[in-house]
Symmetry: C2
Subunit: 286 residues, 2 copies
């Protein structure tokens, strides 16, 4: 059912960490549109609109706009750090993003504002906006509602220059630009999908043998602690933490859990001082 | 001592994962300059130069350059996912980056190439280059040699729009745009630097009591395993993994270990199938 906008409705705030990170805005936009609503009406409603306040204008005045009145805006996943997409913004686009908390850009070809997700419904819920030192480049730190790229890929960056240079076939999402933790997650996932063979990889063996996996996780946690207890030095700590992470991530893969989900929980907890609260509960009950 | 360039010298390859991710280039550039070398000579030598090959030209032909012959290039930390900086590139800048494996840009104001680090020596060692779906936006995935920003901050993105909107004082590096894991690391670090008080936070208590910290890490690892052993469901797995991560990261903070160091070790291991190898060793000895 289509929601109606009204001043009395609360601002959208799906992200638990949002209120801490980003001031509220008195703008209401319904999240999803379906049924009788026409595509055009959907787009019109889904597009975020700029809102002018003294504070927002002061912020916009700080940005160094180029001769066309534009700056670069990069949308980044707040939980994984993945760069989702990049576009250009004008004053209205930044203002609309701040007001609606949805990543909004200025299309240079269509000469108009567009909110990421206005046609796909895969919005990027912005929890923080950052300017660079020159104030001509912006990060929209946010949480994507779904795949960001129009191709269906999680991010728009899936074409590796190395593959082109080596005349390799372009491999779609497997080639996503990701940082180490999520590269590791992908490697483990690849091992998981390998067919059962005579000589399974160590990761595959862990995935097939729950007892072995759990004994390794307990062992590695103990070894991490030993680096402190027996004063083994920080280099050992680095190495043992890597072991704890790897083995725990194999368990996540076994349970079909994504590291991004863990990050989302951590963000919700520590943005509400929940870590302190939760751990206190654990402490008193233990 | 200043190195001399020669065709017989191997390409620079400090990053263990590099050879896997990015094809070698026959370009030699010395890494550091000091002593008698003049600043100008240093800059000239430190600046990467484009190299034209059939493969590189084919890649450059794929990029959708704007009317000024430019595209956007975002430098991202391969280990932490942090966006380090953003600049513009022309054909020569991308070609020079591929050849030298150092992030190189085109300065729109000076109308010339510049390699990040040519004056500061804080280069960004590029391990992978990605194009977006429209092929007009590029990621330089790399490892920074030191702080990227000319201000000395780790990245150029340390100005929070929320602080400006709320008229808060701008807090420098504390305001760095970081994703959840590194936000958590910062929160723990903040707790660590809190003065000892009558009611220390839970994090502070863990930092002060090694026995308590280690017992919590072992306990949480056990609880993570229990989610599989006792079939508690994936939601419990997410929650317990968050606990394992948080408590392990408190131990890292106690040892002055940065998560980025752990990531670097993981990258070195799995890019050489080292996880398999290392774990096999662990297996045979256990």
């Amino acid at each position: 059912m289509q929601q109606q906008c009204g001043k009395e409705m609360p601002a959208i705030s799906r992200n638990p960490g949002f209120s801490r990170r980003f001031p509220p805005a008195q703008v209401c936009l319904s999240r999803r549109f379906s049924g009788a609503a026409s595509r055009a009406a959907t787009r019109a409603l889904a597009r975020s609109e700029p809102v002018s306040t003294v504070e927002v204008e002061a912020l916009l005045d700080l940005i160094k706009w180029d001769s066309s009145g534009l700056a670069v805006a990069i949308a980044q996943d707040v939980d994984t750090g993945a760069i989702l997409m990049q576009g250009f913004v004008n004053r209205d686009a930044v203002s609309a993003t701040i007001a609606s908390k949805r990543a909004t850009y200025f299309s240079r070809s269509r000469r108009s504002l567009w909110t990421k997700g206005e046609t796909s419904s895969n919005f990027i819920d912005v929890v923080d906006v950052y300017l660079d030192c020159d104030r001509d480049s912006i990060i929209y730190l946010g949480k994507p509602d779904g795949p960001t790229c129009h191709t269906g890929a999680d991010t728009c960056y899936f074409t590796r220059a190395a593959d082109i240079l080596q005349n390799k076939p372009l491999i779609g999402e497997n080639g996503l630009a990701t940082s180490t933790l999520y590269d590791l997650e992908r490697v483990i996932q690849q091992r998981k999908s390998e067919p059962d063979g005579k000589k399974p990889s160590w990761t595959k063996r862990l995935l097939q043998d729950q007892k072995l996996l759990c004994s390794k996780i307990r062992e590695e946690a103990g070894e991490l602690c030993k680096t402190v207890e027996e004063n083994e030095g920080r280099k050992r700590t680095v190495s043992e933490m890597a072991d704890v992470l790897y083995h725990s991530m194999v368990l996540l893969a076994a349970q079909d859990v994504k590291m991004a989900e863990v990050m989302e929980v951590l963000r919700a907890r520590f943005s509400q001082s929940g870590i302190e609260e939760k751990s206190s509960r654990g402490r008193s009950s233990s």
